[in-house]
């Protein structure tokens, strides 16, 4: 079954066309990356799939549910991590995980879910400290943990390692990779093309609101005779502007 089906999707904010007639599909269990520079339309696309924004045109389906009609159903099976997300600063890390788990946990699974969150966050004793005392890296680990602990069918991660140092970024990437073993499909966005190359099974390159190329990283590299995805992106942008 397809996890995500996007067809002819467009979204504008006033005069600005953030997303222009894009289309792509994500298969169940894969890690799919949307890559592109800032302002390419990645976050808008993710927000539409996460039911936060409504499309102007086109159709978006998540596991067969339409984002316009079945928002509540979709929110039961997805977990969304915004790029600059925060958490409730007066709660402790554990209280925050418990707050989120109460929305998702089926009967008797609550403690198991929180335990999994604590394990993913790897914050040790600091999990019982107030979130207001956390560093940026600790906060991001907590947020990644709350996103993945609920075993969503689709996890939508917007720039999951944004602002993290190298050590924390590697740790978060490993957590994301491991989560697919539990059956979670991952849709992530990043402007760090090396990160996407490391993580993703398939990618779509976005520029100026359009998808300019899509495919497996290895296939794209050989197609454009490039050493890495960064070089692919430069070539693709050049070709699309001619």
């Amino acid at each position: 079954m397809l996890a995500v089906e996007v067809e002819d999707l467009s979204k504008s904010f006033g005069e600005i066309e953030a997303v222009r007639n894009i289309g792509f599909e994500i298969r169940e269990g894969e890690i799919f990356g949307l890559i592109g520079p800032n302002g390419a339309g990645k976050t808008t696309t993710l927000r539409i799939i996460a039911t936060l924004l409504k499309p102007d045109f086109g159709s978006v389906k998540v596991f067969g549910y339409d984002v316009q009609r079945d928002g509540e159903k979709i929110r039961e099976i997805i977990s969304y991590l915004p790029e600059d997300a925060g958490a409730y600063r007066n709660l402790t890390g554990r209280e925050y995980l418990e707050f989120i788990a109460r929305f998702f946990a089926k009967r008797g699974k609550f403690h198991e879910m929180v335990k999994r969150g604590v394990e993913i966050a790897k914050l040790g004793d600091r999990i019982t400290d107030k979130i207001s005392t956390y560093s940026k890296g600790m906060m991001r680990r907590l947020l990644v943990a709350r996103t993945l602990m609920v075993n969503p069918k689709l996890a939508i991660l917007d720039e999951p390692t944004s602002g993290l140092d190298v050590v924390n970024a590697i740790e978060v990437r490993n957590i994301i990779k491991d989560s697919t073993m539990a059956g979670t499909t991952i849709l992530l966005s990043s402007h760090n093309m090396l990160e996407v190359e490391f993580l993703c099974d398939r990618i779509a390159l976005m520029n100026n609101g359009r998808i300019v190329e899509a495919g497996k990283p290895e296939e794209l590299k050989s197609k454009y005779n490039a050493k890495n995805i960064e070089e692919v992106f430069v070539e693709v942008v050049k070709c699309s502007e001619i």
């Binding site: 006033g14 927000r47 936060l52 929110r75 915004p82 958490a87 409730y88 209280e95 109460r102 929305f103």
Partner: protein, 415 residues
């Protein structure tokens, strides 16, 4: 799910520092009221005075007699200097000097003159109360001398001449005949209506401020996007925030009112408890209290909903505090209007404005119910309910739109 939202909201809004701040403000109110009350209470009924009597006539003796009964006379003699020295030693308030020929002057048809040297130790409340008491005694002396003069001129009942008539007042107030003067009614009702208006204003500001802060915190902490993608109905998020804000507002109002009632008790010991209805025959029944409760509850929801709409425009906690000004303005306007004016006596335009502001309705409800104007209270409840319904509908629409995330209206692409 709803309980989870309410619990989270309460944890975010009712922090230890917020509670300490609220209790401190209430404590300050209580301390101010109690201090004033203590100052009034501790001022002795009989103040210390001195008398310098240089008069040899009967009125000089009369003044001495009255002063001895009404005050503690710490000096009687002929020397002003000695009198002032004794007064300073004994914390006296005034030295009253009766000049030579005081009686003779009055008996020959001229005005007598008493010389009073006041000793003020400060400009505090207690100092002013003491001087006020001496002034009261001097007024009594004036009356006593007038009576003696009248007796001398053959008046049989000087009291009847000084007070030739008494008053037995009846007031017709909104078709009710009351055995009191308007001043007495005003005095009795003002403490009750003032307290009601203040309580309601505090409740609305407390709850409204909480919900605006809550929205501001969601934006500042960047938690709103996550909240909106959780598997819970958007309307439940709205209701959860409203219920939590009501609880916080109620707690705040109770804390502030405890402080405020101590403040009022300090100033006028009987005012908060003096029952208006029983004193002047305007009794409230159970159904009246029920209607008042409904009016208050609906208005609280209106205040919170209105605050939530404003909170949607908040970018962070700081800006959310600024956004509460329209609510503060409206609630204060209603409070002042209902404290100082009766709705019936207002010009039509102001009446309409007052009716359109939801906060006015519970503030005037008790007064209306006392005079049997149930219909107006019911119409008020209907109006505020419709008002609240419309506002909640708009909020839910906004929560289901792009506006909350983008801050803009959704526009269709032209392509």
């Amino acid at each position: 799910m709803l309980g989870n939202i309410i619990k989270k909201e309460l944890k975010e809004l009712l922090t230890l520092s917020t509670l300490i701040f609220m209790i401190s403000i209430a404590f300050m109110y209580a301390i101010i009221g109690q201090s004033i009350g203590k100052a009034v209470h501790e001022t002795p009924q009989k103040v210390n005075i001195g008398i310098v009597n240089l008069d040899k006539g009967s009125f000089g003796e009369l003044i001495e007699h009255v002063l001895k009964q009404s005050a503690n006379v710490v000096y009687i003699g002929k020397s002003e200097e000695e009198g002032l020295r004794r007064l300073k030693e004994k914390n006296g308030v005034a030295l009253i000097a009766i000049p030579e020929g005081f009686t003779q002057n009055i008996l020959s048809g001229r005005q007598g003159e008493l010389e009073i040297v006041w000793i003020m130790r400060g400009t505090g409340i207690a100092d002013l109360i003491s001087t006020g008491r001496v002034q009261g005694v001097l007024g009594m002396i004036n009356q006593e001398i007038a009576k003696k003069l009248m007796e001398r001129y053959g008046v049989k009942d000087p009291e009847a001449v000084l007070n030739p008539f008494t008053q037995k007042a009846f007031t017709i107030l909104k078709e009710k005949r009351l055995s009191l003067s308007p001043a007495q009614i005003g005095e009795k009702m003002s403490s009750q209506t003032t307290l009601t208006s203040i309580v309601i204003m505090m409740l609305i500001l407390g709850a409204g401020g909480s919900v605006i802060s809550s929205m501001g915190l969601e934006k500042e902490n960047k938690t709103l996007e996550t909240l909106l993608t959780l598997p819970i109905k958007r309307s439940h998020i709205v209701v959860g925030k409203i219920v939590a804000a009501s609880i916080v507002g109620f707690i705040m109002a109770v804390i502030y009112m405890v402080g405020f009632s101590f403040y009022l008790k300090g100033l006028v010991p009987s005012s908060p408890t003096s029952g208006v209805g029983t004193d002047i025959g305007l009794n409230l029944q159970m159904k009246d209290y029920t209607l008042f409760g409904i009016s208050l509850f609906i208005t609280l929801l209106a205040g919170i909903s209105l605050s939530m709409i404003l909170g949607l425009f908040a970018e962070n906690y700081k800006s959310s505090q600024m956004l509460s000004f329209p609510i503060v303005g409206l609630a204060t306007f209603s409070m002042l209007l209902t404290m100082f004016k009766d709705l019936d006596t207002l010009p039509t335009v102001l009446k309409i404005v007052a009716f359109l502001i939801p906060f006015t309705h519970p503030m005037i409800a008790l007064r209306l119910l006392m005079f049997g104007k149930i219909q107006l209270v019911v119409w008020g409840i209907v109006y505020v309910s419709v008002f609240t319904g419309v506002i909640i509908f708009i909020i839910t629409k906004i929560f289901n739109s792009d506006r909350l995330i983008t801050g803009r209206k959704r526009r269709r692409a032209t392509s």
